[in-house]
């Protein structure tokens, strides 16, 4: 949903290789990976702290929530003590942090079940949605961008650009409803809501996730396609190695795929990494619309019912996923780009 903004914030090309290399010995690749990982740790800590502070500010009294509306003051106090809420905030933060590291995420005040157990149920659903949407968005964007770049300014190019600009302007929750309207309500081809686990039936599982995955993937695919088309077109116009390839006698597809796309792939990778956050955030609303029992829905229910233990873990995991995705992209970038892999001469 924030794809446009994220791209705006960091132009992929601005990620210049080498600039963040330290001066220590060792392979430049290894140094880079270590540095990136070391930077991610304090960020994760800061994120967890911010989550904790936010939840402190949440309205309502979790102890009273837990104890029930008609509990007496004493009962509420007892619950408060049993939940550890009577202790000072810094202590509670430390406790939560170490608990989290041990895999003890606390207990949901609404369902009374351990948060870890709930997450174990919900996480696969969200990961399936995010994973499929991620793959689909890239897989859709590639051929479309290549097709458009084959003849810059041609009719195919223009149609693709107009079409993608329009689809990009449809928010994913609206896209979700439009898809339901067409494929579930009108054509009755796919289920409108509900999730079927893979264990039950692979076909039904795929049918149940098709629409949510499309709703997540289509706007992203348009965004990637537009970026890729622009980058490919720029190279076709002015890059020396494209001239060399043409002078060799290479055809347009070979040039686009083997030469131009190879160079665009780094920019695309950065963009995709930046958008993982938006993709993961998108599951909150998409899971709600399609009644998918994933983490997004768990978090939303937690937020609405002030189930602090759940919100704390879910929000932290969402942010951690985004941070790790970016970390992964940075490392992939370094692994794939020979200019970083081998350092400069």
């Amino acid at each position: 949903m924030t794809s446009t903004a994220d791209a705006q914030v960091t132009s992929p090309r601005s990620k210049k290789h080498g600039s963040f290399l330290g001066r220590t010995a060792g392979s430049p690749l290894l140094r880079l990976i270590i540095r990136r990982v070391l930077l991610a740790v304090p960020l994760l800590l800061a994120v967890s702290l911010l989550v904790f502070i936010l939840l402190e500010a949440m309205p309502g009294d979790p102890a009273r929530n837990q104890a029930g509306m008609d509990a007496t003051e004493d009962q509420v106090e007892a619950v408060r003590r049993s939940m550890g809420l009577d202790r000072p905030a810094p202590e509670r933060y430390i406790t939560w942090l170490f608990g989290f590291l041990r895999g003890d995420l606390g207990v949901s005040s609404v369902s009374g079940r351990p948060v870890a157990e709930l997450l174990a149920e919900r996480l696969p659903v969200t990961l399936e949605l995010v994973g499929l949407a991620f793959v689909l968005s890239v897989v859709l964007a590639l051929p479309v961008a290549l097709l458009a770049a084959r003849k810059p300014g041609g009719i195919v190019d223009r149609l693709i650009m107009v079409f993608s600009m329009t689809l990009l302007a449809i928010p994913n929750f609206v896209m979700a409803l439009l898809l339901v309207l067409v494929f579930a309500v009108t054509l009755q081809m796919l289920p409108a809501i509900g999730y079927v686990p893979v264990q039950v039936s692979l076909v039904d599982n795929l049918r149940s996730v098709t629409l949510p995955v499309l709703a997540l993937a289509i706007p992203m695919a348009c965004f990637y396609a537009r970026f890729l088309r622009g980058d490919l077109g720029e190279q076709l116009l002015g890059a020396g190695y494209i001239d060399t390839a043409r002078a060799k006698g290479a055809g347009i597809w070979r040039i686009l795929w083997l030469h131009a796309f190879r160079n665009s792939s780094f920019g695309l990778l950065t963009l995709v990494g930046l958008n993982i956050g938006a993709l993961v955030g998108g599951t909150v609303i998409i899971e709600q619309i399609f009644a998918m029992p994933g983490m997004g829905m768990l978090m939303l229910q937690g937020v609405i019912s002030l189930d602090l233990a759940i919100v704390q873990s879910c929000v932290f995991i969402f942010a951690a996923v985004a941070i790790f995705a970016n970390l992964f992209v940075d490392i992939m970038y370094a692994v794939l780009d020979p200019r970083i892999r081998y350092g400069s001469h």
Partner: protein
């Protein structure tokens, strides 16, 4: 037309007739190339010189259809008797690299930064001569030996950024030679290199030409380079040929004031480093709105009314020398000439005015005529 003994013995491999290129992008018609005529035989080197923007690159790119779709090419280009103008993209693909190969100016940009150099050479080999990767690799190493790249077996796995500019250009040359082309075009192939490397690369090209009998078109705005390495020189201005001669004849007997001015723009060895270069005053004409008459007239100190009224034809002075000028410097006026001696100008007097480089084409020349005379 610079014809000589060897040319008569050796039938031309490339014949270009009335080649014109018009760009009609953005609604304006840019007449980049306006009627080129030349022939080239195997084993010969033709230098094309001129200020930048004079249509040198467009002129040679059009030979192999390497222009954007906005370019319209007319005229005739015959390679071994086969017409190339108007060929389909697919047919051109089998010409590129195989019949005509090209080396570009900037070796840093000419190689794909994401592929190792070996696969870039192997791609060129296998495009026209399908073979196994193994065999292609053997051939690639041979090519690297041909272009005298040290330790080719390890270089082949390296990436462009790990190589120096000179090494990169050797790779680019290896790519160009991959399918044993009949014509090799070097578009300012040494401009981006330092003087020493420049000489090495030029020597390499000469050596390869002698060994393989390739016909070479070298583009340069460095007259010194042309004088040293080319058999014939063609001077272009505003998309036209203004002087075309055997190298010796050209330098001993310059006719066209523009050529003369280009010669004057070569810095002498005595020139203080980083002092202002002598450059030709004024601008080249607007290619979307060419004046009638001689295109050089607005900048030419010898210009008269005839010059602005009527375009001088490319006249043959003798077998080895043609030029297009009503009042040639050599003092052999064409018929229409009226006031040949009115202005006796040479580079030092004013054809080349010393002026700031901000408004002019910056012609940077690396070596001097004096130096060349000694070699």
């Amino acid at each position: 037309m610079g014809q000589n003994q060897s040319r008569l013995e050796n039938a031309p491999i490339l014949t270009v007739e009335n080649l014109r290129v018009v760009f009609s992008k953005h609604g304006r018609e840019v007449q980049a190339v306006n009627g080129l005529n030349y022939q080239l035989s195997s084993g010969r080197t033709l230098a094309i010189i001129g200020e930048s923007g004079s249509g040198k690159s467009v002129g040679v790119r059009s030979l192999m259809g390497l222009l954007p779709p906005s370019a319209k090419v007319t005229g005739s280009v015959r390679l071994n008797g086969r017409e190339l103008v108007g060929l389909s993209e697919k047919a051109l693909m089998s010409v590129r690299g195989k019949e005509i190969a090209m080396i570009f100016q900037d070796p840093a940009a000419s190689l794909n930064p994401t592929m190792n150099v070996g696969s870039q050479i192997m791609e060129a080999i296998r495009l026209h001569n399908p073979m196994k990767k193994r065999e292609a690799e053997v051939k690639a190493i041979e090519l690297l030996k041909l272009v005298r790249l040290p330790s080719p077996e390890t270089r082949i796995r390296q990436y462009p950024h790990q190589l120096s500019g000179g090494m990169r250009q050797r790779i680019v040359i290896a790519i160009a030679l991959a399918s044993d082309p009949k014509v090799l075009i070097a578009d300012e192939a040494t401009t981006a290199l330092d003087v020493t490397t420049q000489a090495q690369i030029m020597e390499l090209l000469v050596d390869i030409q002698e060994r393989l009998g390739t016909a070479v078109i070298m583009i340069s705005h460095d007259i010194g380079l042309a004088a040293n390495y080319a058999h014939d020189v063609m001077v272009m201005y505003a998309g036209k040929v203004v002087e075309h001669a055997n190298t010796k004849s050209l330098f001993s007997n310059v006719q066209m004031p523009y050529t003369k001015a280009l010669l004057g723009a070569v810095p002498q060895l005595t020139t203080i480093p980083h002092s202002r270069l002598t450059v030709i005053g004024g601008h080249p004409p607007d290619l979307s709105n060419l004046p009638t008459g001689c295109p050089f007239a607005p900048r030419c100190p010898r210009a008269t009314n005839v010059c602005t009224a009527e375009e001088p034809p490319l006249e043959r002075q003798n077998d080895q020398h043609s030029y297009a000028c009503w009042h040639p410097v050599g003092g052999q006026p064409l018929e229409a000439a009226g006031t040949a001696d009115v202005l006796k100008v040479d580079a030092q007097d004013g054809a080349c005015s010393e002026s700031s480089t901000s408004t002019q084409e910056r012609a940077v020349f690396a070596s001097s005529l004096d130096e060349r005379a000694k070699r």
